[in-house]
Structure formats: C-alpha cells, structure tokens
C-alpha cells in the first residue's frame, strides 16, 4: 500500500467541438474533485487532437468527454484514434451526456470504454472510476 500512498487518479475532462454547455462538466468536475481525484479541464472548443495531446502531456489515467451536442459520433471515434496514435491507448476513455442508446455499440467498438447517459448520478461515475482505479493499481502491483 505504501508504494501507492502518493498516487492520485488524474482525469482529463474535455469538451469537443462547438458544444459549449458546461453544467454537466462542472458538476462532474466538482464530484471527482470531492472524491479526491485530480481533474484537468481542457476548456471549450477543443479538437480531438488537442485533447489527445493534452492527455499525453498531463499523463492522465482517464479521459472523460462531456457531449451535449449531436457531434459525438464524429468526435469520439476520432479521439480514440488519436489517443492510440499518440501512444496513449492505455488511458480509459469515457463519455457522458446526450448519447442515444443506439449509438453506444458503435462508440464502444471505436474504443470508448464506457458511456454514461443523461441522468447518471455522479456517484455512479465516481464508483466506476474508483473500481477501475483499484483494479489498475492491483494489476500494477502484481505485475511489477
């Protein structure tokens, strides 16, 4: 345990394209901070490549995209591809917001690992990340 005493989950929260609604990302940012995570916010009007570069520079564990416009089917697969290209394919890519259920399988195939639809409670997201993080730490410990 001492090996991980200083470890802290780092999450990049991003808004892609023209979608400028920030309520979702604000609420999530605060909830993640209150759960003890370090949240890095990209700001608005980002391209997929900008977000991927930022994820690399910040060495985050998780990239979370808030999407409240219709462009998720364009942006998210592109972001997954940029992350892979830049050697950051190991980062957990998740998204939340207005994503119709029928779009989810295609996004999952493109590399988005989890999609939280509208109305998901923040504690569901925090729990999900905590579980994922614990598993990652355990795997690192047993592997190395």
């Amino acid at each position: 345990m001492t090996a991980f005493a200083n470890r802290r989950l780092r999450v990049l929260l991003a808004k892609l394209g023209m979608d400028t609604h920030t309520i979702g990302v604000t609420v999530i940012a605060h909830a993640l901070r209150d759960a003890g995570f370090e949240v890095i916010f990209t700001g608005l009007k980002q391209t997929a490549e900008m977000v991927a570069n930022t994820a690399v520079q910040e060495d985050v564990d998780v990239v979370g995209v808030s999407s409240l416009s219709a462009a998720h089917m364009k942006h998210l697969p592109k972001l997954a591809e940029f992350l892979r290209q830049k050697g950051a394919g190991d980062k957990l890519l998740i998204a939340g917001g207005v994503v119709p259920l029928e779009d989810i399988p295609q996004l999952e195939r493109a590399g988005v690992q989890k999609i939280f639809t509208m109305g998901t409670e923040t504690k569901t997201i925090v729990d999900y990340l905590q579980t994922w993080w614990a598993a990652k730490l355990a795997a690192e410990q047993s592997g190395g």
Partner: protein
C-alpha cells in the same frame, strides 16, 4: 382610489386595509396554532422538516395570513397596484389576457434552409403565429460549415447558415401568417442581422409587417451556455451597434432580448436569475446611454425571455416581482418617465431543466403544469413550449403538435387567463413576491458594487455562483432531498423508449459544405475582400458594424469569414476554469 370591496367578509380585506387593527388576528392565529394545528402536528408529525421552497430553499410556513403581509409592510397600492399602471406587478397590460391571448410560439431550427422552411410551415399550420429560429452551433459560434470544429454539428442543433443564399432558402415562408420571428443567434449578431435584412429584401417582404426579434443580450452568454466569440467588452459593443442600427432603421422591431431563461436552465435560483439578467440589462442600457440615447427611448425596447420551472409558486412570484423590479429600476435608478420604459416586456415559457430523459411522457404533464404557472404569473407577450422529447434528440412532429396543444389547453380550457393576475392577494403569493423583490434588489446592489455586470463577468462571479447552484442541485437530487419522478422517485426497473425520435439525414452536412465551397468559387472574390476589409475598419474605428456587414453579406462573404474579420480585431474570448464556472 378605493379598494375593491365586493366581498366584505373576505379576509383578504384585512391585508388590503392595513389601518384596521390586526391584533385580534394575532391572538386568533396563535390560538389556532396552539389548539388546532399543534395537536395535529404532535400526533402525526410533518412529512418534511423543514418545508422549503424548491429553488431558493426558503422556509415555507404551514399557513400564510394577513399577518405576514402586515409584517412585510405590504401596501396594496404601492406594492401591487393595477394592471397597466405602476409598478405593474399585476400586469403591464391594462386588460391582461382578456383582449388577446399571448402569442403562441415554438422554437424550430435544423438542417438546411429548405428543411427549415418546411418545418416552419408545418408549425404555422399547427396554429402557431410566432417562430423562434435557432441556428446550428457552428453558425451560433461564428464558423462556416466547413470549419474543422463544425464537424458533426452542421444543421444538427439548428439551421445551418453559411451565406445569404441559405437564409433566402429558409425564408420561403408565408410571411403574411407570421407575426413574429425571433432569432436566437447572438454572438455573430451584426452578421445575423444583416443576413436577415438582406434576405427579407431579396424576398420582397415588407419589414414593417412583422416583428423581427433578435436576442442580442450577449453578456448572458458569458455567464452560462458559452455561445460567445469575442471578449465581453467587445461583445457589448457589438450588441450596442445592432441595437442602435435597429432602432434607427426598423423601429418596430425588437433589438434586444436578455435570455434570462438561460440562467435558470443553468440552475440559477429565481433571485439570481432576476438579479443577474437585470444587472446585465442595466449594463446594456448604460452602454446605450453613453452613446447619448435617453432612457425613455431605449428602455421600452428591452425584452426578456424567462419562464417557470416546476417550482410553481417561486416561478409565479418571480414573474410578478420581475415586472415590479424593472419598473422600480427604470423609475428610481434612471428617472424614466414614459410608462413604456417601465413596462417590462417578457416572453415566458415552461422550463426544460426539470424535463427528464426517463419516462419522457411524464414531461407532458410537467409542461402543462409549468404552462399553467406561466399563465397564472402573467405570461407576457409570448409563450413558447419546449417539447417533451427534447432530452432525447431533435423534436419529432408529434411532440411539436402536443407542445402547441398544451398552450391551447391552458388558454381555452382552464380559465386561468380570464381574470388578471388571479393569485394576487394570496397571503403566500404576496409574501413570496415581496421576499423575492427584496432579495433581488440586494443582489443587484452587490453586483453594482463590483462595478456592474461586465466587471462581475470578467471576474467570474456569476459563473462561480451558478456552478455552486449546479452542484448543490445535483447533490439534492442524488441524496433524494429533491424528488424528480422517473429519476430518483418512482423509477421503473426497465426503461423503454416510448417516443419516436427524429433523425436528421446524414447527407445534410456534406451537401451544405459542398454548396458553400461552390459559392466561394463563383462569387466576386474582390468584392468580398473589400467588404471584409470594411468590416475590420469599422471594428477598429468604432463606427457601427451593421452597415459594412450588410454590404459583406450581399457580396456573399460567408458567415464565418465576416466573423473572422471581427476576430482579427477583437480577439477571441478564452475563459479559464474560474470564469467558465468549472
């Protein structure tokens, strides 16, 4: 003026005639609490401790009586008055909705010009007389459809406009049936306004035959939603240019609207909503006064879009307080003398923030309740209904039909619009109206002490306050202290989609881009370059931006190109996390 006294036994009279002694009432009230209510509470308890209003979290007492009005120093003539008379609490219209109902409008916008025209005709066929034109995000943010950032957004959340040609296609409408057109596109306003003027000209429509209403209250965008382009002070200058141009050339049009509703959708409580949007209006007014206009000339043009969410009484009292505060600000702060300057112009509508993705049909009942509350609070000139499937995707035809029907049901079947301000005199409603008024005035003073709305925005004050409300409201939903049916109450184990979803054809984007690029090839590039240089010059020199934009759109400079010309001069607004509220 004598107090109407048709029912001498009605206890309301106690409230309305403060000279009558109320001490026997105090005794009676205390006796009721002790002997009648007290034992009941002792026996059965209360289902909530304490009861609080939905958004403001103010305590709600078990009973309101004339004593509450007395405690607040309530004075009927001063605080409420008569419809069409200062302070307009009851209505700005002398006969309320008895001469005419409010204009029933609905938002529409998606796809290409032709798609929009078709949908707009459908809406007019449903008995709507006003349309609200929403542009897609690329247009609203000042980009052309072929900008990389626009990918996936073209025609999605609204109409895609790249050039005058797009708007000409969209304006293939029966303008004789349209009383009112509102354009929501805000940050690129001089371009948007120029496009509309030029398109009407091309269609041979007389601009006097209907009201064009541009939103133009740009400062609100910096507090939430974020559809801004330039730094706030340049945004304010642009808005002031458009306002000036319109009152000079099209005095029957509506040159500004402060979308207060945007604030409450961003979880502002009623006090914040009014204080923020009013202080923003004051900032716009100050900018106009600085240019030498008089308050009596500009104030009558100010218009607000607000609405009521599920907090029924807070919403009704908010609308009543809104009218009074505006009147007071105009008279007390600016020394306005024309009644028109003191009558606030409002469009109100049911809110979207309580509409749920889950169990979407429930939203129809929510919309009906909120629309009723709007009518009880005195709607204003126009009402628009959001649609019950909004949370899912772009609205389907059926949702539009139901949305329109809701307004007609409220107007014709309930009778709530048949007498003016029917809840006035309610001990609770008058108490809450007064509490909201006092709290809003205090908050406005606080904002003024910061240097006004522009300074407060630059410092991130509004943004941080809203972020806090957003987090608080979310927490209340998650810990169950606020109940939302379908979300944290009466949740069904299995969610089934129950409504048809409208899908936009995928080829729209490609087609729009193709048409834009083809236009760039065939237009007179030299004329475009000259026109864009003139836009830059005007931006730099401070002369009105609308005339050079009008020349540019007619030369088929594109929407994004003209916005870029202004970006060259004004720069671009990049908020940090603080001033974005995150």
């Amino acid at each position: 003026m004598a107090i109407p006294n048709r029912h001498p036994d009605n206890p309301v009279r106690d409230a309305l005639t403060p000279e009558r002694s109320v001490s026997p009432l105090t005794d009676a009230f205390n006796a009721w609490q002790q002997n009648t209510q007290g034992p009941e509470v002792a026996k059965r308890g209360e289902r909530q401790t304490p009861f609080k209003t939905q958004a403001l979290h103010w305590p709600v007492h078990p009973l309101y009586t004339p004593l509450d009005l007395e405690a607040a120093g309530f004075d009927y003539q001063r605080d409420v008055g008569f419809p069409g008379e200062y302070p307009y609490t009851r209505s700005v219209n002398p006969n309320g909705n008895r001469s005419a109902l409010w204009t029933m409008a609905q938002v529409t916008g998606f796809g290409r010009g032709t798609d929009w025209a078709k949908r707009a005709r459908f809406m007019l066929d449903q008995g709507l007389q006003g349309l609200i034109l929403e542009h897609d995000l690329a247009t609203t943010n000042g980009y052309d459809s072929d900008d990389p950032l626009a990918e996936g957004e073209v025609g999605r959340a609204g109409l895609a406009i790249d050039s005058l040609e797009d708007l000409e296609r969209a304006f293939d409408l029966p303008f004789d049936r349209l009383k009112y057109l509102m354009s929501v596109c805000n940050a690129p306003q001089p371009v948007n306004l120029a496009m509309i003027i030029a398109a009407l000209e091309a269609k041979g429509v007389d601009p006097k035959q209907f009201v064009l209403h541009i939103v133009n209250g740009i400062l609100i965008e910096y507090t939430c939603v974020g559809r801004y382009i330039y730094p706030p002070k340049h945004g304010l200058r642009i808005a002031t240019d458009c306002f000036e141009y319109m009152i000079e050339h099209h005095p029957n049009w509506a040159p500004i609207s402060i979308i207060s509703a945007q604030l409450y959708a961003a979880r502002a409580n009623p006090v914040q909503e009014l204080a923020f949007s009013l202080s923003i209006a004051l900032q716009h007014i100050d900018a106009l006064l600085e240019r030498g206009h008089s308050i009596d000339k500009v104030a009558p043009y100010f218009h607000f879009v607000t609405g009521i969410d599920m907090d029924f009484f807070e919403g009704i009292c908010k609308l009543r307080a809104f009218r009074k505060i505006w009147a007071r600000l105009m008279r007390e702060r600016y020394k306005a003398t024309r009644p028109e300057a003191m009558k606030v112009r409002v469009m109100s509508s049911p809110g979207t923030m309580s509409l749920t993705l889950q169990q979407p049909l429930n939203n129809i009942s929510r919309l009906a309740i909120m629309a009723t509350a709007c009518a009880l609070g005195g709607v204003g000139e126009t009402m628009t209904t959001p649609l019950h499937d909004e949370a899912h995707a772009l609205p389907a035809d059926e949702a539009i039909r139901v949305g329109a029907a809701i307004q007609h049901i409220v107007a014709h079947e309930t009778g709530v619009a048949d007498t003016i301000d029917p809840l006035a005199g309610s001990y609770y409603v008058e108490t809450l109206t007064r509490q909201i008024e006092d709290a809003v005035m205090t908050e406005i003073d606080k904002i003024m002490a910061m240097g006004g709305a522009l300074a407060a925005i630059e410092r991130g004050y509004f943004q941080r306050e809203l972020a806090r409300e957003q987090c608080d409201r979310n927490r209340a939903l998650e810990d169950g202290s606020r109940k939302l049916v379908g979300v944290n109450h009466l949740v069904h184990a299995e969610e089934r989609r129950e409504i048809p979803i409208f899908k936009l054809a995928d080829e729209v984007e490609a087609e729009q881009i193709e048409r834009l690029q083809e236009l760039r090839k065939r237009r007179d590039q030299n004329a475009v370059d000259v026109a864009l240089a003139a836009v830059r010059d005007a931006a730099r020199s401070g002369t009105n931006l609308v005339p050079p934009c009008l020349v540019a759109v007619k030369a088929y400079a594109t929407h994004g190109e003209i916005c870029n010309a202004m970006r060259d001069v004004f720069g671009v607004h990049h908020p940090d996390a603080q001033t974005a509220g995150v």
